[in-house]
Amino acid sequence: MDKMPKWADVILTPLISLVLAMAISALVILAIGESPVMAMKTMVEGALGSSYGWGFTLYYATNFIFTGLAVMVAYHASLFNIGGEGQAAMGGLGVALVLLYLPLPHWAIALPVAMIGAAAFGAAWAFIPAYLQAKRGSHIVITTIMFNFIAAAALNYVLVNKLRPVGSMDPASARFPEATHIPALTDLAAGLGMTWGKNTPVNITFLVAIAACALVWLLIWRTKLGYEIRVLGKSEPGAVYAGISPVKITVIAMLISGGLAGLMAINNVMGESERLVLNAVEGAGFIGIAVALMGRNHPFGILLAALLFGFLYQGGGELALWTSIPRELIVVIQALVILFTGALDNMVRMPLERLFLSMRRTKGGAK
C-alpha cells in the first residue's frame, strides 16, 4: 500500500522539485544583476529550441547516460564506483589504439571493434579496484579515486610521449582514419532527406546509448546475473545463503560498470573529436554519479536525468557563449537541480504524501 499514487511519486515530485530549483536559480541570476527570464529563454532556446540545440543536448546526454549506467550497475551490487572518470578516459585510449593501429576499412566494422576496445579498457581499469575490494576488502571508493588520478597520469604520458604525432604542439593523438568516422545523426537525417542538427556532434552513439539503457535494464531486472547482482547489493549473507559468490559478482559487476564507462569514449573520442585529446572525459564521470543517483538507479531515470544534464550543459553553454553571464552560473544551477531533485526531494514529497493521504481519508470517510 502506497501513500500516494505512483505518478505523483515519479512525475509530480521531481517536477515540483525542478521548479523549486529553477526558482532559486532565478534568484541567483537576479542577485548577479541579470535577467532570469532572458537567461531561461536563452537556455531553453539554445538547448531545445532548434535541432541544432538538440544536437548538442543529446551529445552531452549520451556521455552522461554511459557514465550514469556505469555508476548504476555498480550501485546495484552496493559498490560505489567513483572511478567512471578514469574508466572513461581509459576507454578513450582503447578506442584510439584500436582505430589507429588496426586496419578497419569501414565504420560499420570500426564501431563494434572500437566498442570492444573501449569497453575492454574501461573494464580493465575497473578490474583492479574490483579485485582488491572482493579479495582484500580494500574500499572501492578509495581505490577508484586513486585510479582516476593514475588514469590521468597514464593518459598524460601516453598522449605526450607515445601517441602525439611528431612536431605537434597538441598533446593529442593523430586523427583517426577517415574510414572509421561514424555517422553523425545529422548524416542519418540527411539520408532520410531531412535537415536536422547540422554540424552537431551527436552521432549514432546516442542510439547505442539508448540500446545500452535497454540492455542494462534487461541485465539488472531480467537476467540471472542481474538478479545475483541485486541480491549481493542487498545482503551479502543472503547472497552466500543463495549460493552466489560475492567475489565473482563483485568483480563482474565492476567489469560491466567499467565497461559501460569506457563505452562513453565511442561518443566523445570516436564520434566527436575523432582523435584522443587530453582530459577528453571532462568530468562526465563525476556527473554520472549525480545522474545515476537522481535517476534512482534505473535506466529510464538515468535517461531522463542525462537529458536534463545535457540540457543544462548545452543551455548553460549557450548562456555563457552569448550573454555576459559567467559560465559558473551553470554550475550553480546544476548544483541546485541536483540538490532539489536528488537530495531535498522529500521536502516536496512529504507534504504531497500528507495531502494525498488526507484526500484518501476524506474520500474513504465519505463512502
Binding site: 588520478f149 559558473e328 554550475v331 550553480v332 546544476q334 548544483a335 536528488g342 522529500n346
Partner: protein
Amino acid sequence: MKIKDSLIALIVLGICLIWAFVDGSAAEQGIGSALRLMTPLLLACLAGLYSERAGVFDIGLEGKMLMAAFTAASVAYLTDSAWLGLLAGIGGSLALSLVHGLASITFRGNQLIAGVAINFLASGLTVLVGQNAFGLGGRTPALTGAGRFQPINLPFAETLRDVPVIGPIYSGLISGNTILVYVALLMVPVTWWVLFRTRFGLRLRAVGENPASVDTAGVSVTRLRYAAVAICGILCGIAGAYLATGLSAGFVKEMTAGRGFIALAALIFAKWRPWQALFATFLFGLLEAIANLYPNLDLGFITIPSMFMNALPYILTVIILAGFVGRAIPPRAGGEPYVKER
C-alpha cells in the same frame, strides 16, 4: 589487532627514518612539506570523521573546503585580518553544512547526492560571487601582511637549532608553522578525547552505529547529527581558511584541487579513527612531498617520467591499502537517514 591498527603509523615512521638516514636535509624539508600538505587533509579528514561517525556520509568535504577558502580569502582581504577571514571561512563552510544537514537529516534525503550537490554549488558559487565582487575571474586579490596567517617561531627554536636530532625536528619541523597547523595537530587528541571520553562522543558514535538506540535512550538523533555536521563544517572551514590564508595568499578557483576526495580516502584508510587519520593524511602528505623532491628519478637506464612520479602517491596508496590495511567497516548506520515510520 593492535599491531595492525598501528601499521600505518609504523609505515609512515619507517619512511621518515629511512629518509632522514639517507638524505637528512632533504628529509627535513620533505617532512616539513608533508606536514603542511597534510594539514588541510587532516582537518578535512577529521571533519568527515565527525560527520560519518554520526552516520552522515559526506562526499561534500571538497565543496565545503572550497567555499571556506573563498570566504576566508575574501573577508581576509576586505578586513586585512586573517582571523576574521578564518571566521568567515568557518561561516561559509557551515552554511553548506546546514544545507547538507537539511537535506540528509531533516528531509532524509540521499546523503551522497547532497554531497555531490554541495561540491557543484561551491565550485560555481565561489567563482560567480568572486567575479562579481573582485572582477578577477573568481580569484581574490593577493593577501598581504595581517591578511595571512604567518609562521610562528616557537620558543627556543633558534637556540636549539644546532642540537643534533632534536634540533632539526624541533626547530626545523615543529617550529615555524602557522597557527592552523598546530590547531590541526591538536585536533587529533582533542577529537580522540571528545569521541571516546565524553558523553557527547559516546552519543555521537552511538548515533552513527544505531540511531534507534540513541532515540530510545531519550536523546534526539536529529540534534546530535546536526551537531556532528556542524563540527564537520567548522573543521572544513579551518581547512579551507588554511589553504587560502595560510598556505597561499588568496583564493584561486578550484584551489582545493581534489583534496576533499583525498581526505575522504584517508578517512576510510584510517577506518574512521582520529590517530589513524593523522597517520593516513601524513602518509599522503609524505608521499606527495617525496614525489615533489624527486620529480625525475633517473635510474640510469631509464628516466621515470614526471607523470609517473606525480601518480606515485596514488599508486602507493593503493598498494599500502591492499597490502596492509585490509577491510574497513564504516559506521553501521552510515549513509542511511534515520526513519522511524515509513
